[in-house]
């Protein structure tokens, strides 16, 4: 089942990210567009990161802060000259604060056609134990 595909996609310029610290390497940093949804057992994040290869993605989770970043190598060949440039390429970077406790060991990430799919399984909550009081 596919979501609404009849509508025409509107142009959105890539958003430059605000990075906490200055970069040592020059270059633009962009905020990837994401979908985040939650199921009972896990949180899933989908991020559009065109041009990023699977091995160039860094996912980091510490103190409930999830950081997703990806490096892009310029696709142009050496001999090529710009004629018309409508978008810039650069790194992707985005951070989220998570309210759920995530089972770090079971995090699963996949990269297909420039879309990152990250599943973050929640830590199973301790099932409440029923204590019966015996009458003596």
């Amino acid at each position: 089942m596919a979501a609404n595909v009849s509508k025409e996609i509107q142009v959105r310029e890539k958003q430059e990210a605000s990075v906490p610290a200055e970069q040592t390497r020059p270059g633009a940093v962009f905020t990837p567009d994401v979908d985040i949804f939650e199921k009972e057992s896990e949180l899933t994040l989908l991020a559009d990161m065109p041009g990023v290869k699977a091995e160039n993605i860094v996912i980091d989770l510490r103190d409930n802060v999830l950081t997703v970043s990806g490096e892009v190598s310029p696709p142009e060949g050496r001999e090529e000259e710009d004629v018309m440039i409508e978008y810039e390429t650069g790194k992707y970077y985005r951070q989220f604060t998570l309210s759920e406790v995530i089972n770090q060991e079971k995090i699963n990430a996949q990269m297909t056609e420039g879309v990152l799919r990250l599943s973050l399984p929640k830590v199973e909550k301790a099932t409440p134990r029923k204590i019966t009081v015996k009458a003596v």
Binding site: M1, A2, A3, N4, V5, S6, K7, E8, I9, Q10, V11, R12, E13, D33, V34, D35, I36, F37, E38, K39, E40, T44, L46, D48, M49, P50, G51, V52, K53, P75, E76, G77, E79, E80, E81, D82, V83, M84, I85, E86, Y87, M111, T112, E113, G114, V115
Partner: protein, 154 residues
């Protein structure tokens, strides 16, 4: 009787100031192009997907960022000096019981025409899709390629 307007019509005045603004904006855009040092940078056609057009001696390269678009959902047509690109980006629906926190990724159709500065060889256009980036390689027509001219000594 001579008709002499006492006031210039406000509607006329408005229109004029708007076109002045438009002209000023265009001049600013041109100025920005000069400052940035790149031809055509920063101005976009406002049609999805945004494309980058580059060239070398023999070919043009058109690149577009289309994450999550499958090659079978895309159609490319080549003519004498235009390439048209159309397709659909489908965002697969998740199960009904999911709760969304954020929904920024857009699904929908797109179609775009890209005019090339010179004539091309439409039969030899090729396209590839890797990591969500579409690259269309467009060979230039023989007539449009730069010719090396040797100067003879007389």
């Amino acid at each position: 009787m001579i008709y002499r307007p006492m006031f210039s019509l406000p509607s006329w005045r408005f229109r004029s100031s708007f076109s002045d603004l438009e002209r000023m904006k265009q001049q600013m855009d041109r100025l920005m192009d000069v400052f940035s040092g790149y031809p055509g940078r920063g101005r976009s056609a406002g049609v999805f997907p945004l494309v980058n057009l580059t060239e070398d001696r023999d070919r043009y390269y058109i690149r577009a960022e289309l994450p999550g678009v499958k090659s079978e959902d895309m159609e490319i047509q080549a003519e004498r000096n235009t390439i048209s690109l159309s397709g659909a980006r489908k965002v697969a629906a998740e199960r009904d019981d999911v709760k969304y926190h954020r929904r920024e990724r857009e699904a929908g159709t797109f179609s775009r025409m890209i005019g090339l500065p010179g004539e091309i060889d439409p039969d030899k256009v090729s396209a590839s899709l890797a990591d969500g980036i579409l690259t269309i390689t467009v060979p230039k027509a023989e007539v449009a390629k730069p010719k090396q001219i040797s100067v003879k000594r007389t």
